[in-house]
Amino acid sequence: MEQPSDTDIVPGDIVPDDSVGAGALRKDVGDSTNAQNKPAENETVKNTATAENAEKRADEATDRKRARIDSRPDGHVDDADADEVTQPRLGVLGWLRWMWRQLTSMRTALFLLLLLAVAAVPGSLVPQHVADPNGVVTWKTQHPVLYPILDKLQVFDTYTSVWFSAIYLLLFVSLVGCVLPRLKHHIDSLRAQPPRTPARLQRMAGFRIRILKGVSADGVSANAQAARQAAIASAQKLLKASGYRTVVVETARDASVSAERGYLRETGNILFHAALVGILIAVGVGGGFSYTGQRIVVSGQSFVNTLVNYDSFNPGRFVDTGSLSPYSLTLNSLTVKYESKNKNALGSPLDYTADVTAVQNGVTSKKVIKVNEPLGIGGTNVYLLGNGYAPVITVRNAQGKAVFHDAVPFPSQDAAMTSQGVVKVPDGLKKQIGMIGFFYPTAKKLSTGAYASSYPDTRNPLLGLTVYTGNLGLDDGVPVSVYSLDIDHLTQIAGPGAKAKAIDLKPGQTKALPNGLGTVTFDGVDRFASLDIHHDPTQGWVLLFAILVLGGLLTSLFVPRRRMWVKAITQPDGSLRLEYAGLARGEDPRLNDAVASIADRHIAQLTGRSTGPAAPKSK
């Protein structure tokens, strides 16, 4: 690339036009050398053009340079000067400046981007706490030596780790440092006029000439000037109609219009980068103000959106847990459909539909929640993320008095919905009892004598219970999960480890508990829905910024930024020489076509007929 050696030009400023009227008078020292350097020029041009060569050459150099300069970050390919040349000034301020320049340079941005890609990899190789907490536990038991090391390195929390955060934060600081100056420069250039026409268009892209014959008798009359102006005015109109911003420059000998379009490209680029920052901020802020919670609801039961009603609850740092938006949901029914015909997919779920009654602000309404169709209510989204069976179990004491009656959710263990649950009866019997139950919606006896479920729907429901006695630990004031039973301190009284066999019940059946404790009844089975309730106030913002990212990307990659010039020069024989050329600023594969099209349309406008792609005849 040719590097002009003249002084720096501030982007967008106008070089004083001293070529007016001077061309013919000036003695030109550089004439002969220039004429040799340039590609052979058309004879007709030469007479008038060579006289001004030296001066034009200087202009051209500045034009070309100015065209290249942009407020791009350091290291951008279009930069005029290499940053190896810039010496850091000594002193604290100098060093800070130098560091800032390094951080906001193109090369650093690239490095940080690639680093970010590499840093994201480990998190996909080992399970993450956020996505797969059980996986982390399993991994720990499988790799007892490696685990503590990786844990120290925060590999199980890769995406919140110090090192990962450091990379993306640096990247975003760099990004802001990049975008702000560009924004300022862009606003300036939006206000400025297009830079004036270069003295020589020959070297620009898509250069072409049209000679309009018989415009005037000679090259000097007022007539000729008027023709020139008219031609340029029409070119200006044409360019304006094509979305160019234009400025007309006139000299004694020629008139030209300088035009630029595609400012949207830079706008898009800046919008894109700014929207990325927007996403980061929205996500960050959202984390503080959002909450997620889970709740299992058996059909017929209700959920009220207050803290105590959650089975688990994860609030962001700034969430006021005392004032969740008040509403309640009652699960009327949960309908599940399974595939029963396709032999390759017997028992795979086809549909889950939860019919709920919502009460909010005293208004009652019926709603449906499905997978992929969450219910939006009170600023939260309610998702149906799980389901299962809840056998209804009644325990009576020896006197026949019911001491326990409930639909107990049994989380499922496999695709055939073999489900396991726990029943705790602390009061009302002679001793506290705990039962571990297995529920088989379609029970099938295996050769081992054990049961398994062969189909997820309730075709042959069976409930098997093993019974333990002892202290359930419910009175110690320590919270205990309702879904697990700590059998270490309990004595089994029914089941494989005890004299009495496990209690197997079909719906409606009642059987005696061992040791004359009483009876247990399997009344029937309900379904439960596992609801996730999420509140994220910035989710919409994230989406908005994401759309801006996409929009910015589209405009910045597909809107061509280009300059275009049309110059009219009156020639001694009275004809008008029209020159057309363009300059790409960034990727612009269609520039040549654009210049050609403008030229054709311009000629068509001037002559009232289309020259089309002039049928070329060989010379």
């Binding site: 290291g75 951008h76 981007l113 956020v130 000439i209 086809l350 996409l550 070329p616």
Partner: protein, 371 residues
Amino acid sequence: MFDTLSQIFIYVTMGLYACAFIAFALDLARRSARATIPESVPSAVSRRTAAAEDLVFVEADGDGVVDAASSVSTSAQSASGGSATATATATATRSGRGSAVARISERIEGDVHTGAAMSTSLRVAMILTITGFGFHVLADAGRGIAAGRVPWANMWEFSMTGTLVIVGIFLLANLRFDLKYLGTFVLGLVCILLMIATTKYYVPVVPLPPALQSYWLVIHILVAIVATAFFALGFALSVAQLAQVRREHRVAADKPTRLRFLATLPKSDTLENLAYRINIVGFIAWTFTLIAGAIWAEKAWGRYWGWDTKEVWTFIVWVIYAGYIHARATRGWRGTRSAWLALIGFSAVMFNFGVVNVFFHGLHSYSGLTS
């Protein structure tokens, strides 16, 4: 029934593609031969001269016809090269002193947009590819009818549709640019992918699980497939670019060159520009995939981003290609280095599909395969 038909068609497709691959390879071999007999190539100078129309005389007054059309060859621009290329090309043309090989390259350069005269093997290859593509469409449609939904809900279907789109975009792109020299690569890749898919990924038609029952399945995955297809083409161009750069260096150093057919391909700058243009289309589609995936995840799983393995790799691919775009705008990285990033990017795309889906656990386990 339809699924069986679909399978039969896919085997027919594979057969045709394999033949097309061979024909494309023969064409490359022919190009190697052609590169050694430069005299047989029609002069580039005459064609270009005929095409150039820098200077046109027009009658200003009234109704005469275009007076004369003559041409000078100042600054003849190659259709897509940077101005440096163009100038070099023009110089070669003007001086007529360019080596024979340079002239051939230049001719191809000019053909990038216009389409060259095809060799017999190339014509046969294109016909085979188009016929194969027809069967491919039938196979894909058959699967869709058998399943009663869009045919891209598990890895088998994704492979089938994905390869279909790769070939489709290859054919489409050929309407605008002459990319036929990529045929060997594209058909080779597609054959391998289909081979792996038929032996490893086939699953019978099963109904969609509730989590996949969404219009986002149509949008999100289709756009992902399109993005993948563009990245595949971009990858091929970048490989060609790297090979071409090597060759150009060897030519410049007067060393013997090996892959001689490269002499009949566009210059490395042209290849790079094409690769870039194709890759950015892929990148935009990928960006959309990412966003659409997040929207869907929010609906289906209750959060828009959860660093699930598949999400992580989609993100990694995106960042690598963002790196590629920046590299191309960074001094010292344009050209060879950024091309390498495009290769890494596409490898990540393939990894994301072939490895992450099958061997990594996560919410995205929709491969339909049971391990």
